[in-house]
Symmetry: C2
Subunit: 227 residues, 2 copies
């Protein structure tokens, strides 16, 4: 699953809490730190796997999502360079009573702090526990934002937002993405997304071609998502 | 807003963390603890108010919900005797980037630990910070459960679940509740709930009368919510 080791040289520059650790804690983390290169498409964590540990992304992109019994998906949030992933170590808190799947959306270099190591430090360290609190509050806020989107926003606005987010992440107006993938991000169905995109095309907002969506009018997409 | 003071005598029996506090911390909390009686229907906290503090419910019932710009509501979770309410002190964590409203669903006796007092103790105490982590993870889990309900469950199942939950909370099969209130809990519209309840009535699951819903067949409601 993991194909290449990367250097741990700069972990301390990436880990925001490094200077709050004592010498023993620093040594414990350094001695147990795992560095990995993960290929795009790899499932890094899911509810049935062992507790993976805390992930710190050096470079790349992860997607956290939930799955229904019928195999439907909805993206909870995405993580980028320097982001920490807490839910891959959900076993460190007994009150986390839900399961997520985490996959690499791009080739990703990351560090893994094993769950038991982090848990042990967090138990005794107020700074680490408080940092973990802030981390969880951030993800909780992401999910609250999602609930508000699902509840109060119509799908056309959500598709417009998603397309704009993608052009921003990818730095291009030519998105290589399938309708199925968009449906999985938004918790919708492929057919529904296809119908919406065709409507967008008739309106001159996008141009559709095989496996590709070209954004033609991002200003009107922005107006739509805000309306 | 608050009409009666209650005794703080048994706070230490209710607060699960009491024995993990040192003498100074115990004194700080005792000296600043606010005890209140809140009438049913009172809004205890909303996004625009000052940071209320941590609430510990002695007896009663609170509802935490979010509001859309158009005034639509959806219940995130409810709190009962001995539950702690963290989001009423959301200012203690800068990463909590969402606003909730908390109202008393019944007359409620509660203690308030002022936010600044709790925040100060949490900053230095690993046990308090870790306890707060577990508290937030519990609410996060409640909200994840809600997302799964909204995304994957049809409304008939959600209404069935809600009616069964209410009969359990109230200890009776005769629910004094309006269709509007059910809509506000489930993030739906009154008309949609009325249509669903009439369908339930035709199926012999409930009997509708003015301001009242009588559960006639809870076994079939249970089957429905699980299907």
């Amino acid at each position: 699953m993991f194909i290449k080791e990367i250097t741990i040289m700069s972990f301390e520059n990436y880990f925001p809490l490094w200077n709050d650790l004592n010498t023993a804690q620093k040594k414990l983390i350094s001695d147990n730190l795992i560095t990995q290169h993960v290929k795009k498409g790899t499932i890094i964590h899911n509810g049935n796997m062992d507790c993976t540990g805390l992930l710190l992304i050096k470079s790349g992109q992860l997607r956290t999502y939930i799955l229904s019994n019928e195999g439907r998906e909805i993206t909870l949030y995405r993580l980028f360079d320097m982001d920490m992933c807490l839910l891959s170590a959900s076993c460190i808190m007994r009150s986390i009573q839900f399961e997520v799947t985490i996959e690499a959306e791009k080739d990703t270099d990351l560090w893994i702090i094993p769950a038991e190591i982090y848990k042990g430090i967090m138990k005794d360290s107020a700074p680490v526990a408080n940092y973990t609190n802030e981390l969880m509050a951030t993800r909780f806020s992401d999910v609250m934002w999602l609930i508000e989107q699902i509840m109060w926003k119509s799908l056309d606005k959500r598709v417009a937002s998603f397309l704009l987010e993608e052009t921003s992440i990818e730095g291009t107006n030519e998105l290589k993405i399938t309708h199925e993938t968009i449906a999985n991000h938004l918790g919708s169905h492929r057919e529904v997304i296809t119908r919406m995109l065709r409507y967008f095309q008739v309106e001159g907002l996008v141009k559709l071609s095989r496996g590709k969506i070209t954004i033609l009018d991002s200003k009107r997409l922005e107006t739509l998502q805000r309306s």
